[in-house]
Amino acid sequence: MRKIAAAAVLVVLIVGLTGATSAGAQSSSGGDEKLVLRIGDTNDIDGFNPFKLVEIPSFEVMDLTYDLLVDFSPKDSSPAPGLADSWETSEDGLTWTFHLNKEARWHDGKPVTSEDVAYTYQRILDEEQGLFIDYVSQIESIETPDEHTVVFTTKDPSVQMLSMYVYILPKHIWKDVPADETKTFENSPVIGSGPFQAVEWKKGQSARLVANPDYFRGAPNLDEIIFQFYDNDDTMVQALKNGDVDYISGIPINLFKSLENQEGIETNSAPDPGFTELGFNLYEPSPEVIEEFGAPKTTTGNPALLDPKVREAINWAIDEEELTQKVLQGEGIPGSTLVPPILAKYHLKLDESEIQGFDIQRSRELLEQAGWTDTNSDGTVDKNGEELELRLFVRSEDKDSVTEGQFIEDWFEEAGVGLETKAISDTALTDAIYAADYDMFIWGWGSDADPDFILSVLTCEQFMGWSDTFWCNEDYSRMYQEQKEQLDIDERAATVKEMQRIAYEDNPYIIFYYDNQTEAWRTDKFEGWLKTPTTADPGQIAYTFSNEGYLNLRPLSTGDAPDEGGGTSPLVYIGLALVGAAIVAVVIVLVRRRSAEDRA
């Protein structure tokens, strides 16, 4: 009897479950559906705390939730109204006055005031918050003459005042967070002022943002944005194909190629504001530098590299075109000058005649001019009995850099330069760089929307800071200060371009390529996929400096909306099959039992 009872319980359970399934299937097919944009990513966010951001999607979530004082224009990433509608600067460029939008509200309904702006900046200055301090360190004092006006006084005239990537926080929330909890405060749901509000984070699964209908620049078309975090690239791509996700990015090249020409899916490969480069050790220890920067007392760098002719020879022995084609399968732009082309206003585009291309013969000639020839015919050039043997560090954490190392080995051999390549971890590489214990390395940089940061890494002042070459060119460093203070954009662009020319001709870096970002999205649910910056060739949908890509999306107007959640869940069929099987099993058991009892 016990068995029969158990079987009965099972049947009841399954029937109940099936009922729930069909009920569920029905309810999800009816009613007005929310308009949800689903974004797939292979990195989880770090949480909702704006002071503790590492992974890229975290910044995207914060960008949508908080506003900046001055935003980036979707057209060309130039300064555009953020929380501030307008601003002006004094004649001497030391006083900046920002006028806030009077309609701006926090997600909890309280008005955004100058108090909030001043509080945010002051807190970052007081706590020296690493993520933001570089943007605000030039500020000397902050005043709030009225509720909608903020006045900053700076130490030097500075164009950076219009590109401060600082999320403006509500004072009424953050004043209750003590300084030692700044980085651990959970901050959920986030109270910001942006077009969306981050409300829920499921670790390793998803982050949910809901639209802010009272957004002061107009309510977004979308109801929700959900970031979905996949542990696996292949699965993420399959999820795009079956419609579990609407947009994905950062797709490995091979998978990206498999998505091209798929029906209902569009792909885009767009330049990212960053590059991959070969850097040299150009450190020359001197008592002043050791004293001022705490730089190492010695260097193991090969002194031959200090000769700009040798570095130029090496540039001629590297084929940027080939690296872009082979390593990135063409999804990038061959590299040249320091400011990436996506920062169109500041990027120095070289003439054909100025480009140090790929020409082994030219490379050998330049080496000869520098005094390096192969006197003993062993295949490697030498000078004063010394062979030219260089060390190259590539990153074990980045497969591409290892591949690039192999290409360079072949080219150097042709040019007669000895090379020993070694793959090491990023940590070991960082240590080697700060100890000046290297000849060359391959690594990359990401740039802000403003060129200031990427220009700063080559200045003398960044020794033991961002500098990884110990390159120090006085003209370059002087012009770096100059461009900071040039408030006229055209004048500044001219200075920035001149700086890039100096750097390109002296070769502290040899830039391989500007990597592309890959993205793909479904075309059956939304229209208005906007690539920003719109003047770029092309821009990107998401993960750009502007939120316009999200705000421009609207439901597909032509044709039927995709049939989502309709029909019967397959679980119903499986449930029914299980019920059938259970009934059959019960019957068999009963029949058998009876016959067994008959015999016993």
Partner: protein
């Protein structure tokens, strides 16, 4: 075990202080600061005794990657794993055992050959590949089941029934992958165990009494043949908590396997890995104990010995 756990992870390549400052090239002074914060500037022996003391007090430390207590991080990943691996183990045990009995009963017949072949193939198949094949079939081609996660992201204002159904839909593919990967082992062991038992004297006796073959199988063969399968299932239960790293990664299932993957990838995250491996070792030890006790209950001979 504690000693091994501590030093094992100190040998792993990678530095936690670099992990915390990822994507930024940070100046040495910042790195020193982070080191100090984490207590990594002190000698290894001091760190070790700190770790011993904390573990005894039940404090597993703070995860580097998640900035939350390790016990909390592990706790939230425990139930998804128990659900997935639990369902899969039960499914695989039941189905595998039935296939094994059937194959042994009809030994040498096409049914036996087919079930044996099926068991061997699924047993040998890499879980990653099997999972991707199931995704291609059930999620992309047929569009019956979702590709990833434990529930539809953003499904919050649904009724309990709907949430249950949603979770079951998400559970189906990863559980099926695991069932397929595990059942071969059970089928093979059950088959040989049944065949062995069928040649025992008591079975011959039962047959001689004139009992029907099906009854012989059910009353005399299967109960005896089940013993090794029970051992296997109990031992496998110990590995339930270590999750199924591959399957959880393919389907982005938020369990302990995924957590292990992320702890290694994002770091290494020593405190989290130490906590996880402590849990895994304890689980295996308890499962061994449980297997012994269970066998004692099922098989009177062992209890008496």
């Amino acid at each position: 075990m504690l000693v091994l756990n501590f030093f094992l992870f100190r040998i792993l390549p990678g530095d936690p202080e670099r992990t915390l400052t990822r994507l930024q090239r940070v100046s040495p002074s910042t790195i020193d600061e982070v080191k100090k914060e984490l207590g990594l500037d002190r000698p290894l022996t001091v760190q070790f005794f700190d770790y011993l003391g904390d573990t005894v007090r039940g404090e597993l430390g703070i995860s580097y990657v998640f900035s939350r207590p390790v016990s909390e991080v592990i706790g939230s990943a425990l139930w998804p794993t128990i659900l997935l691996v639990g369902v899969a183990t039960i499914g695989a045990t039941v189905i595998g055992t039935l296939i094994g009995i059937w194959g042994a009963w009809r030994r040498g017949s096409p049914v036996d050959t087919a079930s044996l072949g099926f068991g061997l193939v699924t047993y040998a198949m890499p879980e990653f590949w099997l999972g991707m094949l199931l995704i291609l079939l059930f999620a992309v081609a047929l569009d019956w089941f979702p590709t990833s996660f434990m529930s539809t992201p953003g499904l919050t204002d649904a009724s309990a029934g709907l949430l249950l159904v949603d979770t079951l839909e998400h559970l189906f593919l990863p559980a099926l992958t695991l069932v397929l990967a595990l059942l071969g082992e059970y089928a093979l062991i059950m088959r040989s165990s049944v065949i062995e038992a069928m040649n025992e004297d008591y079975v011959t006796t039962a047959r001689a009494k004139g009992m029907r073959e099906a009854l012989v199988l059910r009353r005399h063969v299967v109960p005896n043949a089940l013993l090794p399968v029970v051992t296997l299932a109990a031992l496998n239960l110990g590995f339930i908590v270590s999750g199924a790293i591959t399957v959880e990664t393919v389907f982005s299932w938020p369990g302990l396997g995924q957590l292990t993957f992320r702890a290694i990838n994002g770091g290494p995250d020593y405190p989290l890995l130490q906590g996880l491996f402590l849990l895994f070792s304890v689980a295996v030890i308890f499962a061994n104990l449980a297997a012994d006790l269970l066998l004692g209950l099922l098989d009177p001979r062992i209890g008496r010995a």
